[in-house]
Amino acid sequence: MSLILVDDIAKSYGKVVAVDGLSLRVEEGSIMGLIGPNDVGKTTTIKIIVGLLKPDRGFVRVFNEEPWDNPALKSKIGIIHERARFPSHHKVLDYLQRVCRIFGKPESRAREVLALTKLEYAYDRTIKTLSAVMLQKFAIAHAWINQPVLIIADEPTSNLDPAARNDLLDLILKLHQDENVTFLISSDIVPELDRVCDTVAIINQGKIWASGGLTELSERLGARTTRISADNPEALGELIRKLEYVSRVEVDSRGVSVGVIGEEDGKLYEDVPKLAKKAKARIVGIQSGTASLEELFRLAVKSGQGG
């Protein structure tokens, strides 16, 4: 069952086209990552889905309901806005207890969500004194108050340090596994989404450039990652970097990871032995696999630039 169904929506701000002909479907029980570079329409899409903006055209349904100014829908979804802000003079616990009353939940729930987001120590602090990291955690606690079936998050990790990002991703996985919560997460920090998302929609220039499961997308777009285990990987990596069809080269102490797009995977297998000879590197093994999300993201960016 699709919890979110978006069909051919468009939204412009004056002459600036933010979203144009975007379609999207989020299935129940999935974690979908909406990824794309900055300013390609991710936030506008999220705002349309949560009913903050009305599209100029197109069809949007969340739980089979029109989201625009629909209060009943707000009880079913949790929303984490990009750089979320709250009435600043309230105390952390007081405000969340108020939100509990708004959603008809017991006030004890406020302590539960604060414990879940590791903010128990900040009960008595006013919201305006919270650091950026704490504020983001507070936003997550706030979104989880009403125990929604669907959480829509716009750049939820943007203000977090690496440890807090890890905690958040663990929390997302926990909620997904324990409570079967569906997530739609927009972000441009791609490696993190790679860890949690089972489906992705890559947005570029106001449209969904590609969407589906990671493996399916890799195969469909012909994006592969090839791991070459070799000694003297630095020299080999330098030579591989010069190949035109290679999109990414990462060198570590044991070898080289190469991102290849399109039908050039076989060509790489032909070129690597020649380059290894030139670099005086001994190849131990070559293995190809599904491209990472980052690979697909780069592909999308490249296509957006006309590359």
């Binding site: 100014d69 802000r85 009435p87 600043s88 003079h89 309230h90 108020r98 959603f103």
Partner: protein, 267 residues
Amino acid sequence: MGKGRPFLEVFTCALNEDHRFPILELLVLLCALCTVFLAGLAAVYGFTTVEAFTHNLLSSSTWPLIILVGISILKNIAYGLGNDVEQGIIQTLFSYPLKKGYILTAKLLSALVIPLLLFLGISIFGLFLFFPDIILANPCTVFLTYAAQLSPVLLAAGLLLLLALRLKRGVLALIAGLVLCFMLFVIFDSVANSIAYGTGSDWSLKIYAVITPNLALQEYYLGTQGFSSGIWVPSFSEVLLCLLAGYLLVAVVFIVGYVYFKRGLRI
């Protein structure tokens, strides 16, 4: 779940933010002091009719309160609501199970209606304590005077709402609001009077009386001794018409504000 509880929670949340200690307490104290002090002064002057005396008593003792309440409203709507839109707090409020119109109503109840109720409560109670006979004997004059005094305040509040929503910046809306109020109540007043004195015609005063209906009421009670020196002596029906037009203007501005908040606000 009904919408009463979420509405009350959003309203009390706005109250907490708008009227933090000691702003409201200070407002109450100043309103009470002004009423007592100015009512005593106004009572010194004699007038030909008891209605004129009642109107003068009310007008003279309430204008500083109107300014105080106006400042409070300016702060709450232009700065407060402007900041809420600027910082994204409105987005958070939109994630609650309430229609956008109810959220704006809750914000306006806190920002506008609470200071106005405070003003009315203190002013009427204070004047009733000092002049019970006059207040009880002239309910129509009392009602008309308060209605005429509040119309420009509400108009300014509506325009401030539009400014705050349009500019989406608290400080900018506050500055623009101050300029707007100065133009509305100082510049326009001077221009209307200058035109009336210069041309001897009353049309500029009539137009300005739609913005500030108390001008029409004042000229009606004072007659030829009024501030326009007899250029315009309105009839009672003209006074009512100005009052009605004033409130119609207020209603139009607020309706535009609500429609813009619900449909046009880009956040």
